[in-house]
């Protein structure tokens, strides 16, 4: 087993960087921008509450009674749902999210590079180039990969922070009237998308500091929300498909666009690498829990998985999925599958802890809030039939893959035992 990928103790910066990938992606910036347009100043306490709920569920999953278990989250889930459903849910919640988010984010980065930095460089060319670089990076030793992730996250967070500071300096520290404006839309439908900001954050390897990432994310996004509302009207933030770029242009003009361009590209790299590392770790725990071949495990997570996912992403980009509205629906469905997986993990932990007569009420309450958010995300989406079809298809395919893998594993173990007896 590749020991580094299952390692749970990390430095302060690596703990932050592993979970913060998706948080700093352009998609998260769109969710934050649109939400702050809808809820204005109320976005700040709502974001803080959502972050707190994720901190509470992360703490729930790292209870000492649970952390001694081999295979960690996966074993916990498998004990609650059974091995095949747990494997299927784990695959369905992670792999489609990587492929679809990569397709969407790489195309966004391609446009950003073309429109902000080099007009003559084709946007699609840049998207494919970035995909190739990020895939090659996955083949590098873990140490280099972790350092690259810290660099991507630091660049994206640093860029966003510098835009906030420059924005505050420009307006002399005073916020505009828009921040104090009453929210126009405030309902579960406007709150629920904020839960999707934390996709992959709890799948990271950080088990020691459950509140570190939620607190850091709240501080950074609170600054960005205040500065966005100070420069851009709520209506514009709601209607814009790239509210982050609209705000950056208003704050600092062309230099602001260039800083935001760097944030978008590094945020894309951070999201891809972060989600891929989380998926590799999950896959390692699945293989480890069923005592799969060590060689197969390392080959699978270091070579096969990144190559396969990059190939699927390249095919989706080449066939023009990014030019279809369907991509947005599928990406939303993939994010909801991730939230469903997280909810199941929390319920498994609660069931296990209840056996010990130690039911943590805060963790239970946070899980319940996430169930409500998932329900709201589903109901408020006009395309819920497509979301259902996609989710069940992914779960079906994942179940099939789980069955195939378990059969191969069973045969392999059986023949190994036979060889031992001979």
């Amino acid at each position: 087993m590749d020991s580094l990928i299952l390692q749970t103790k990390h430095s302060f910066f690596l703990s932050l960087a592993l979970g913060a990938g998706w948080l700093l992606s352009p998609e998260s910036l769109v969710i934050t921008g649109n939400s702050s347009g809808h809820m204005t100043w109320l976005t700040l306490p709502v974001l803080a509450i959502v972050a707190l709920l994720f901190g509470l569920t992360a703490r729930l999953l790292q209870q000492p009674q649970l952390s001694s278990r081999k295979g960690e989250e996966f074993t916990l889930l498998a004990e609650f749902t059974g091995t095949i459903p747990a494997t299927a849910l784990t695959i369905a919640s992670s792999l489609p999210l990587i492929v679809l988010s990569a397709t969407a984010l790489l195309v966004t980065s391609g446009y950003t590079f073309n429109e902000v930095f080099l007009y003559w460089f084709p946007n699609f060319g840049f998207a494919f180039l970035l995909l190739a670089i990020l895939t090659i990076l996955q083949f590098c030793p873990e140490k280099i990969l972790h350092r690259a992730q810290i660099f991507f996250v630091a660049l994206a967070a640093g860029g966003l922070l510098s835009l906030c500071l420059l924005g505050f300096v420009k307006i002399g520290g005073a916020t505009s009237q828009q921040v104090a404006e009453l929210p126009t839309h405030f309902s579960w439908a406007t709150i629920a998308p904020l839960f999707l900001l934390f996709a992959g954050s709890t799948l990271g390897s950080n088990r020691e500091r459950p509140f570190l990432l939620p607190i850091a994310a709240t501080v950074l996004f609170a600054l960005w929300i205040v500065i966005s509302l100070s420069y851009v009207t709520p209506d514009r933030l709601i209607s814009s498909t790239i509210p982050y770029m609209t705000a950056a242009r208003k704050i600092l003009g062309d230099p602001g666009r260039q800083i935001m361009g760097a944030v978008v590209i590094s945020g894309t790299c951070a999201a891809y690498t972060g989600l891929m590392l989380a998926a590799r770790r999950l896959l390692a725990t699945i293989i480890d829990s069923k005592s799969g071949s060590q060689l197969f495990s390392i080959k699978m997570q270091r070579w096969l998985l990144p190559t396969l996912l990059a190939l699927i992403t390249a095919i989706l980009m080449a066939t023009g999925l990014a030019g279809e509205e369907l991509l947005e629906v599928l990406l939303r469905a993939a994010l909801m599958l991730w939230l469903l997986h997280h909810i199941f993990l929390c319920i498994s932990a609660l069931v296990w802890l209840k056996k010990d007569s130690r039911l943590p009420l805060a963790g239970g309450g946070a899980t319940l809030a996430m169930v409500a958010a998932l329900f709201s995300l589903f109901i408020s989406n006009a395309e819920h039939t497509k979301i259902l079809i996609f989710s069940f298809s992914m779960l079906g395919i994942s179940t099939l893959l789980a069955l195939i893998w378990l059969t191969i594993n069973k045969r392999r173990n059986h023949s190994a035992k036979e060889q031992e007896t001979q």
Partner: protein, 88 residues
């Protein structure tokens, strides 16, 4: 060898015909700027999905008409109407 020559002939002919088919009238940036605001001309943004939503550059007043749904929106315009389509 004979098969190869036939294949190459067909290949060159088909690509050559494609090149002719791609010859559609275009307007330069300056020509379009001069025409902006004219009632006789309609600008159509044929980008869809992320191609449209990720782009910062959108011409003011342009109507969204996704390129993959030409059959749907083309009925709304007359044949002699000047339509300017852009995708980047």
């Amino acid at each position: 060898m004979k098969k190869l020559i036939i294949f190459l002939t067909f290949f060159l002919l088909s690509t050559g015909l494609q090149a002719f088919a791609l010859e559609v009238p275009t307007v330069s940036k300056d020509e379009l700027k001069a025409k902006l605001g004219s009632q006789d001309m309609t600008i159509l943004d044929v980008r869809a999905g992320r191609d449209w939503s990720s782009s910062e550059f959108k011409i003011k007043g342009a109507i969204r008409a996704p390129g993959n749904k030409i059959a749907e929106w083309s009925k709304n315009y007359q044949k002699d109407q000047e339509l300017i389509l852009y995708c980047a």
